[in-house]
């Protein structure tokens, strides 16, 4: 399994309406374990659509998304959800943490969904909180924290169950430059530390440069930009 790509896209195509041109078509991509990839592109080019296809939240018009050897198009909604629960972690631009759960409960939510017992769940949640630097805030509610701290909750939640793939969609879009830099570094380090692969969708060249490689999505498809120019 270790040698198999975590994610593979084959001739992927998507259009919003049949009478409109495709947003993209013929996309191929392979993402190996431990690899951290940034995808850049202008607004409206289909970055978020691509992310949704990767997560099984949307269906391609043609081509396939293979996650951990499983073709997502062959799975029904429940099976896709269970695969996502187990194998994917998400970080959103708008954070999306549950305001009525404590920091520790928010981070432990994926483990709760996976049926991990409370003691183990709390232990791992505290470890993760320490790893993302907010161990002292475990019992606080999200509304009591700053934007950067809330995004750390989201990162902890995305990684706590050691997913094979972390998808981050503009994770620093709502943060100030200092917090953004800290968050990007944390995200990269944690993806690497948990031995998964990650895809960062971003507008920002600076953010993209924290990745191992950068691809640009445009009308022609995915084009490599080259590392750290």
């Amino acid at each position: 399994m270790a040698d198999l790509p975590v994610l593979r896209l084959e001739r992927l195509a998507k259009r919003y309406r049949p009478d409109r041109p495709a947003i993209f078509e013929g996309l191929d991509l392979s993402l190996n374990p431990g690899e951290y990839l940034a995808i850049m592109g202008e607004s409206g080019v289909g970055k978020s659509t691509l992310l949704n296809l990767l997560a099984g939240l949307d269906r391609p018009d043609s081509g396939s998304v293979v996650l951990e050897g499983q073709d997502l198009s062959a799975l029904d909604d429940d099976a896709t959800t269970l695969l996502r629960r187990r194998s994917i972690g998400f970080v959103f631009q708008a954070f999306h943490v549950l305001p009525y759960l404590t920091v520790e409960q928010n981070v432990g939510l994926p483990l709760e969904l996976l049926g991990v017992g409370e003691t183990e769940r709390r232990r791992r949640a505290m470890e993760m909180l320490a790893a993302v630097g907010i161990g002292a805030l475990a019992t606080r509610l999200p509304r009591e924290l700053s934007g950067g701290e809330v995004q750390r909750i989201a990162i902890g939640r995305a990684l706590i169950h050691r997913p094979r793939l972390v998808l981050a969609d503009e994770p620093t879009g709502n943060l100030d430059p200092h917090s953004a830099a800290q968050t990007l570094a944390l995200l990269r380090d944690q993806v690497k530390a948990n031995a998964g692969a990650g895809i960062l969708i971003t507008h920002s060249r600076a953010a993209a440069e924290t990745a191992d490689r950068i691809l640009v999505l445009d009308g022609r498809g995915l084009t490599a930009l080259g590392p750290r120019q």
């Binding site: 429940d78 999306h96 549950l98 009525y100």
Partner: protein
Amino acid sequence: MNARAPTPGAGRVWRILLLSQLREQPGRLLTTVIAIALGVALAASVYLVNAAALGEFTQATKRLVGEAGIVVRGPREGFAEELFVRLARDPRIAIASPVLELDAALPGRRDPLKIVGLDPLRAGALQPALIGDIGANLLEFLGGGGLYLSAAAAETLGLHRGDRLQVTVGDRTKSLRVLGVLSPDTYSQPLGLMDIAAAQWTFERLGRLNRVDLSLPAGTDVEDFRRSLSSTLPPGVLAIAPRVERDRAVTVTRAYRVNLNMLALVALWTGAFLVFSTQSLSVLRRRKSLALLRALGVTRGQLQRALIGEGAGLGAVGAVLGVIAGVLIAAAILRFLNGDVGSGSLHVIGASLRAAPASLFAFFAIGTTVAALGAWMPARSAAHQPPARALKGGDDLDYGGLAKSAARVGLALLVSGGGIACLPPVHNLPIFGYAAVALLLFGAILLVPTLTVGVLRRAPRTGRVVFDTAIAQLRENVGLSTLSLSSIIVSFSLMVAMAIMVYSFRNSFENWLGKVLPADIQLRVPFGNDTAYLPPELQAKLAALPASARVEFRRTRQIQLDAARASVTLIARDLLPGRIGEQLPLLRTAASPPPPGLPPAWVSEALQDLYGYRLGEKLDLPLGGRRVGFYVAGVWRDYARNTGTIVIDRAVYVAATGDRDATEASIWLRPGADPAAAVDAVRATFARPDAFEVMTSSVVRERSLQIFDRAFAITYALEAIAVLIGLTGISFAASSTALARRAEFGMLRHIGMLRRQVVGLLADEGILLSVFGVIYGLALGGILSLVLVYVINRQSFNWSIDLAVPYWQLGVVSIALIAAAAVTAIWSGRAAVAEDAVRAVREDW
């Protein structure tokens, strides 16, 4: 930006808000409007029907009394006509007009016909409108043997001029010729008009009158004269002002009407709570937009006024629809049910709707005002929310501080409610009882946030992600949770209280029936008539029937103890010495036996309440033209009459009056006798088999319960409407919160929560909330039922009932309500997750 730049006025803000609401949630607005419309329609229709029926009663009484300045009224069986002679000769009196007023029993018909026998020559001056139609046929009218029927009576009885009307006198039937039919304008209710001499002859009341109408010369102080006249009248004969005569019918039905109005208002108040909860949810949902308006320069006052205006606008539309619907419903009730909305006491024929613009406007204003009041608190909260905090988003309105002060006010209201429930009635109306219900209700609602937090804080974690998340959500969003609950708690607790009251009443009524109907067969003259009776010969025949083991005879009469009150029922019955407890549902007895020479009397609770008689006191009754003293030996429960009843020994009654006739009989059969055959044998003793009502006790019991259930049918209907409005509130709350939380559900779907788990999360929340609401509603309803049973019912109808709880029915309704709330939550949840999870998460970007 210029700090003094013009900002949009409240009117414009109101238009922006309402129009955007209308675009976004037309269904919610429509249902809120319908809820207000329903409440207004119910309240308006009940009011209009009662106003029309009472107007008709008053009009009819006015026609009968005419221009009389004073009405001298005696007992139904009358007084010697020498009194009339004395009054006619009194130089201080301009005109004295003798009247014999009777409710005549008609064979085979349940309702008696009111017969007024008068001297047309004297009555012409006092009641010109009433006898105007007779003028041309005066000689025929004076000839005797006939009567004029009002148009309503002719129509009801299917009679025309020249036909014959059968009336029961004693146990025999007499026939009267219909001399003509009065025009419908003369008198709108059923009535027979006779010459007084003919009436006395026909109904065997020779030398007896029961009313004399007096007209006094101009300049006489009527009230002064009435008082001086009263002191000279024989016992049981009263001089009454016509206004008191007219108001009596109104007074008798007042308690029932007020109760009905209160019930209709419940639906309206539930509608107001619905506006409160939906407006609060709507404000929560729009908090960012509202904060943006504040940031753009809309002042706090403008925003508050605009949001209150939004609620008032919905209320105004609902109120207009409600007033229109109320008028239509009232017209239908008057047209098809003759104004009877359940009690039977307001039955009138041909009453016309009197929809005064002022009263219609009042209902419009009430509907609009309660909706505005419902919108006031959420509007205030929204206007006082710091814009910066709301714009940042993700935060609930600050209900924490509000909850604490609300709990303090709530406790104060509960204590006050409990205190004023103990106060006595005002003009025989349980005003403080109603106020206590309102205070307890509002107080309990204000305690909900604090109690919800308390309960949810103690909820243990189960390890089930869906359930635990549901608990956490409810705990942290106590404002939302409370709002969802308020309308259903209000309607459900009132429903519980009403259900307990009605069940208790029915239970007590059934037990009472068992006590008052111990015999196998019941026989009685048609209810409320003055002409049919069982003469001694017939009594002897009944007692001698082979199937009869024992027969108890009763003589029921109406006596007037107070001119302003309805008459009191006197029951003279064959009593078993020392066994009164077996014959009457006694509640209390005097500590000591009657003193020598003072026979015992047992009074109903109503008599005790209305006239203040106490155990062991002396009670004077007008019998046989003199006052006879009795000893109040006990208080008993009488559900048949709520204006006062007195039971005395028939032997004492016969000795005082010489009247050996009876109006009712209870027959115990010999062992093995066939009840149906015995009923036939009883009927065979009558001159006409349908002269009297004869039924086995089981049939009487069954019919009595049917009448009881019919009387409360409208109560059940109003309760159902209130609960429906409450459920609508839950439905709005569920759909609004589900919509507001789409992004949250989207995130949960992203991290691997199954669609059905998200729906389950909402279902759990719905069930938890409704279980709390139902338990709280049951407890609150239980407390309110105590006020209904021991205060409102007692003070309205002057009879007590024993508390009984319909556990089974309440259990079923509670489960149905929880299930309905769960279904609503699931339905809302499905709608929320049907929304593309991806779009939901991105909506806030």
